[in-house]
């Protein structure tokens, strides 16, 4: 960072910081320069940190009462819900917290897509973010298995069977994942172990994610480089901290709206039926946040093909900084990309809707069109747009779009008039 070197004031501070520079780190984090034009879409990083902490804290508490055994898992969840003091609250915060975590991460990812935050020099922020997202999906999937309801069991069966599509070694991989010939007690036990581990790996990656962010600094809605420590930036504390808090409190209102009033609306009622390896529920669906990928899996009329396309739809995002060759970051100055961005948002939501529907008739046809479009967007449209799109002229500084709006001076005069009355004539 280009900040001035921090020197602690007290003698003890100097002694301590020269041995373990926590004070320097704290100074760096509070004075970290942020572009002053960051909008509320930039508050989701803080919200996501809150989500991760909430999941870890509630999860550690749930682990004190949960029993990872096929004979007891379902009952221990009911025990948490009915007998443990505030068990219902802690479990509903944890289960809805997973959904809220994904809601926030999807907004965060689409923010990155709209404002081109994945472009040079921020590729590593994007890639560490995607690894976090992959780990989140693995963690959420394994967590959903733990209550050992019907959806837990059959979700685990379907997802682990994805690996049986791999030629030659597929069968050995599923046996290795299960620790048996089907999803059973060994599977539940190892999923519990890994479900406890992965959040801490996510935490480690979040540190790398923020570290790689603090090297180039934040992107911003205009997408041009800001001059650090100029009048274009503000220290993170208190300015961004306060803005993040406003957004966080709003987010918490929605979060606890679900926890208190609709705690089961995002889950599936079948998961309140204990797991039965002899009966598959009539309609298996994953949690809502995995539905677009589930739709892609089912859109391909071949087992191996479906699995390949599903994984490709996630891994293709890793290559995004190189697929999108346009030098302009923000969609505000990319008139054509901006339209395709919204088409992509629509297609992903549509795929999510189709993932919850049976794979037949019009649903299947639309899922195939959606899947094709998803890949065309990244593999064809983005490289072509980078080459042929005529972008709008970029402003010289992040203040320009605000200051050089037509009529802005008149507006200032008007505002000044209402505050200063007669003295407005002196305002030029």
């Amino acid at each position: 960072m280009s900040e001035t070197k921090y020197i602690p004031k007290s003698k003890f501070g100097k002694w301590f910081d020269s041995r373990l520079p926590l004070l320097t780190l704290s100074h760096h984090l509070t004075s970290y320069p942020t572009p002053k034009n960051l909008n509320y879409w930039w508050t989701f990083g803080g919200i996501l940190t809150f989500c991760l902490m909430t999941q870890i804290v509630t999860g550690i508490i749930l682990a004190m009462h949960y029993v990872a055994h096929t004979d007891h898992a379902f009952e221990s969840i009911e025990h948490i819900m009915r007998d443990i003091n505030y068990g219902w609250l802690i479990r509903y915060v944890h289960s809805n917290g997973a959904s809220m975590f994904f809601l926030a991460v999807y907004i965060h990812i689409f923010r990155g897509l709209y404002f081109g935050s994945y472009k040079a020099p921020r590729e590593m922020i994007w890639i560490t973010g995607l690894i976090i997202y992959l780990l989140m999906m693995a963690t959420a999937f394994m967590g959903y298995v733990l209550p050992w309801g019907q959806m837990s069991f059959w979700g685990a069966t379907v997802i682990t069977n994805l690996f049986s599509a791999i030629p030659l070694i597929g069968e050995s991989i599923t046996g290795w994942l299960w620790g048996g010939f089907s999803v059973d007690n060994p599977t539940l036990n190892r999923f519990y172990s890994l479900h406890y581990l992965l959040p801490f790996l996510i935490f480690g990656l979040v540190v790398l994610h923020i570290w790689s962010l603090h090297i180039p600094g934040n992107n911003n809605p205009v997408g041009i480089d800001v001059k650090k420590n100029s009048n274009e930036t503000m220290p993170f504390h208190p300015y961004m901290v306060m803005k993040d808090l406003v957004a966080l409190l709003t987010f918490i209102l929605i979060f606890f709206g679900f926890v208190f009033f609709l705690p089961n609306v995002l889950g599936h009622p079948d998961n309140y039926i204990p797991a039965d390896p002899l009966v598959t529920p009539a309609h298996i669906v994953p949690e809502w946040y995995l539905l677009p990928f589930y739709a892609i899996l089912r859109a391909i009329p071949s087992k191996l093909g479906g699995v390949i396309f599903m994984f490709a739809s996630i891994f293709i995002l890793m290559a995004l900084p190189w697929l999108d060759s346009s030098k302009v970051r923000s969609s505000s100055f990319r008139p054509i990309y901006r339209k395709f961005f919204w088409v992509l948002v629509f297609v992903v939501i549509l795929l999510g809707y189709l993932g919850a529907k049976p794979p037949e008739g019009i649903y299947l046809i639309l899922a195939r069109i959606g899947t094709a479009y998803y890949f065309i967007h990244f593999l064809v449209l983005l490289p072509l747009l980078g080459r042929y799109e005529k972008t709008d002229p970029l402003p010289m500084s992040i203040a320009d779009p605000v200051l050089h709006k037509p009529g802005i001076v008149d507006k200032f005069k008007e505002m000044a008039g209402s505050y200063e009355g007669e003295n407005v004539g002196t305002f030029k």
Partner: protein
Amino acid sequence: MTKKIHTKRRDFLFTATYTIGAVGVGATIWPLIDQMNPDSSVKALATTEVDVSNIEPGTSITVLWRGKPIFIRRRTQEEIKEASEVDLKDLKHPEKDSDRAKNPEWLVMVGVCTHLGCVPLGEKGEYKGWFCPCHGSHYDTSGRIRKGPAPINLEIPKYEFVDNNTIKIG
């Protein structure tokens, strides 16, 4: 000249050290990976005997073997006829019905869809055999895949008739 010899000697030592190190790391990691494979107690439960004397033609039972459902169906003459008359060219995974059911009246299959492992529903689907509700695979009266994403026919486990009324699976 001496220097050159020394470099070669050092290269050899490095390569040898890396090799031994890699073998050591591999040998250390293998138990940590292999512990997740099916253990001896799981493998020990490998056979199940089933009494089939109460099954009427046109009905089936489902038993659990190695944690997986096994369909045992006593087929009607119509079903056998339908299954044996199918042209092998129409099949995605061509297998003769006579190879799948040694005794044509009895069809014993692993009741796990070969797509992603759901349990198909009996006497359903376009071919009156089994239908998987998860991703829409249709199986015929011999348990062969006819339509949908499943790549192969329902698996036939190893089984034998111990006597007229008992099937030993595994």
